[in-house]
């Protein structure tokens, strides 16, 4: 078990996959992180040296990920609503925000667009 940014990962997991489990780290960011610390893409968590684990943790803690990013997300939506913009209204009504049709196929918008969006 290896701790990266306070999260425990089993040793058999891929490093890349593990990094992508953080909210806000996708394919691009994880590739960049791996390249920065010279970790090959098929590396397992168990194969990381201690220094590399620390490096990764430090790099991740500098990035805006997880709860910080979620909060930013919600703040942005809230700002739109409070300034009374059309986009804010659409969010509040649970309708598509970017001009999509509403006659059909608004499932995603119904599910996601609300004031307290789950992210």
């Amino acid at each position: 078990m290896v701790f990266i940014l306070g999260v425990n990962f089993p040793e058999r997991n891929l490093v890349k996959k593990s990094l992508e489990s953080f909210f806000g780290v996708g394919n691009l960011s994880s590739t960049r992180l791996l390249a920065r610390f010279h970790i090959h893409p098929t590396c397992k968590v168990g194969e990381l040296a201690n220094k590399q684990v620390l490096d990764i943790t430090a790099a991740l803690s500098d990035m805006k990920i997880e709860n910080d990013l979620r909060r930013q997300y919600l703040d942005n939506i809230k700002r739109l609503k409070e300034t009374g913009t059309y986009r804010g209204r659409r969010h509040a009504l649970g309708l598509p925000v970017r001009g999509q049709r509403t006659r059909t196929q608004t499932k995603t918008a119904n599910k996601l667009n609300r004031m307290e969006r789950r992210v």
């Binding site: 058999r12 590739t31 960049r32 791996l34 390249a35 920065r36 010279h38 970790i39 090959h40 893409p41 098929t42 590396c43 194969e47």
Partner: protein, 502 residues
């Protein structure tokens, strides 16, 4: 044109072809020309349909419920790969061939053995396995014991290796060869033959059996040092190389001792009496030091004289055989990324750099001062297309054919195709400093000659795989079918189980 055949004789031909044609040909109207007629195909599977009696039933759109899948434990990590890479070298069902000769110092230069099969000595098999000379799909498992056919190139190689380790004028010569050829013309087996000869002559054999593994970003990498962060070292791969080398050359390495101090290694570990085997084992145990250890080992193996203080027990180093099977993978950008997320060129990997630098003449002395052979093979089945490498090989061939580099016929890279300059510079054919160092040559393997092919097919027949009368005509026919004696194709034809309808 006058035909060399007698017309009268031709009219009496029919009996012979009738013997060849399957007798059922007249009854069967389909597919009239080939020996593997539809008759010989496996019988069609019976379809499990209820026949007759039942009424037609309507199909409802409802999907059938999925049956719960029985999940067994997946095989352990690495087990499936081990199964895939498993190499079986013996088949007790095959007949033993009486009087089969083995690779030895005498047989490897004996021209009379051309076209016969030389067995690999049983004690050597472990060494050959250690350097991964056998590949899984080569069909060793159909014979009683592994053996290779002696062809023209084999004999040439045998003479070469004999000359380099002998006391004649060829002693200490360095021969650099790039082995190319079409698919399944025996390039890898040629390397195997070279290794078996080198082991017979007590050479040191260093091999890279899977160059691809170094560039697919599947082993760890790190910058070599702070001074040159753009060169990368691969510790695990280096350790693997060391362990291959040690396992295969245990006998030779344990007889040699360290001849100088090495900057990259712990001074306490490397003392005057340390054998090279122990030296190499340090690198295997600690992959982080593997590359430095390999460099130390390399310097030791290439040492011509001991440093002061190390004269005791110094023995002259044996010649070396260095083989790489599939260099095309090393001629393009690897899958590794540098800090700026740009792909690292394979030539920036220090491992690759080392082996490719051997193709160039050494700066002050020969690249292999104790003599030896470099055999770098290309692959026809598993190789990326690298335009620059094609050009390089063409240039080599042209130079060998006597075309001067300044003449207009000399192949030049197309300026619009962006040939990789680093690859173009890989092979340097300038005059080497050391007198015994050769310039890189290209060796193109083709098909076997008819006589060699006959010997090869007889081997199949005597192993009990082939139930045919091996005649010249039959061999000639197979020789043509195998695209002019391509050895892999001959093997496919030989092992194909034939059920003659007669």
């Amino acid at each position: 044109m006058v035909s060399s055949f007698c017309w009268g004789c031709l009219t009496r031909l029919p009996p012979a072809p009738r013997a060849i044609l399957p007798p059922t040909l007249t009854a069967q109207r389909v597919a009239s020309f080939h020996s593997s007629a539809a008759l010989l195909a496996p019988p069609a599977k019976k379809q499990n349909k209820p026949v007759g009696g039942k009424f037609r039933q309507g199909n409802s759109a409802r999907m059938k419920k999925k049956k719960p899948v029985e999940r067994t434990r997946p095989p352990a990590v690495g087990e499936r790969k081990a199964l895939r890479k498993r190499i079986i070298l013996s088949n007790p069902n095959a007949l033993e061939i009486p009087g089969m000769k083995e690779v030895s110092e005498e047989t490897m230069v004996d021209a009379r053995l051309r076209g016969s099969i030389l067995g690999l000595p049983v004690p050597m098999l472990d060494q050959l396995r250690a350097v991964q000379a056998f590949k899984p799909k080569q069909g060793w498992s159909i014979f009683r014991r592994p053996g290779t056919v002696v062809r023209r190139e084999t004999l040439e190689l045998g003479r070469l290796i004999d000359g380099i380790s002998g006391e004649g004028e060829d002693k200490g010569k360095v021969v650099k060869k790039i082995v190319t050829g079409d698919r399944s013309t025996g390039k890898t087996v040629h390397l195997l033959q070279a290794m078996s000869m080198a082991f017979t002559k007590k050479w040191v054999v260093v091999t890279v059996p899977e160059p691809q593994d170094l560039v697919t970003a599947s082993t760890a990498y790190a910058p070599l040092s702070d001074e040159n962060p753009n060169v990368y070292v691969q510790p695990e791969a280096s350790a693997a190389l060391l362990s291959r080398t040690v396992a295969a050359n245990k006998q030779v390495l344990s007889g040699l001792t360290v001849s100088r101090e090495h900057a990259g290694l712990l001074k306490s570990a490397v003392k005057a009496g340390t054998t090279l085997e122990d030296l190499a084992k340090m690198g295997i145990q600690d992959p982080a030091a593997a590359w430095n250890t390999f460099q130390a080992l390399w310097t030791e193996l290439n040492a011509t004289s001991p440093a002061p203080g190390f004269e005791k027990n110094f023995k002259p180093r044996p010649p070396m055989l260095v083989t790489v099977d599939g260099i095309a993978h090393w001629m393009k950008e690897s899958k590794y990324n540098n800090v700026d997320v740009k792909p690292i060129h394979a030539h920036d990997l220090v491992f690759v750099q080392h082996f490719l630098s051997l193709l160039k003449p050494g700066p002050s002395q020969s690249s292999l001062p104790n003599g030896g052979v470099l055999l770098y093979a290309t692959s026809a089945s598993n190789s990326p297309t690298v335009y620059a490498l094609d050009v390089v090989l063409k240039q080599l061939a042209a130079r060998q054919a006597g075309v001067s580099p300044s003449s207009p016929e000399f192949p030049q890279p197309d300026p619009y195709l962006n040939a990789d300059k680093r690859v173009l510079a890989t092979i340097d054919t300038s005059k080497p400093v050391a007198p015994k160092e050769g310039i890189p040559e290209i060796q193109t393997l083709g098909g076997l000659s008819r006589e060699e092919a006959r010997g090869f097919m007889e081997y199949f027949a005597r192993s009990g795989l082939l139930r045919e009368n091996i005649t010249d005509a039959w061999v000639g026919e197979k020789w043509s079918l195998a695209g002019g004696g391509v050895v892999g194709e001959l093997e496919r034809l030989g092992r194909r189980l034939r059920v003659t309808a007669a």
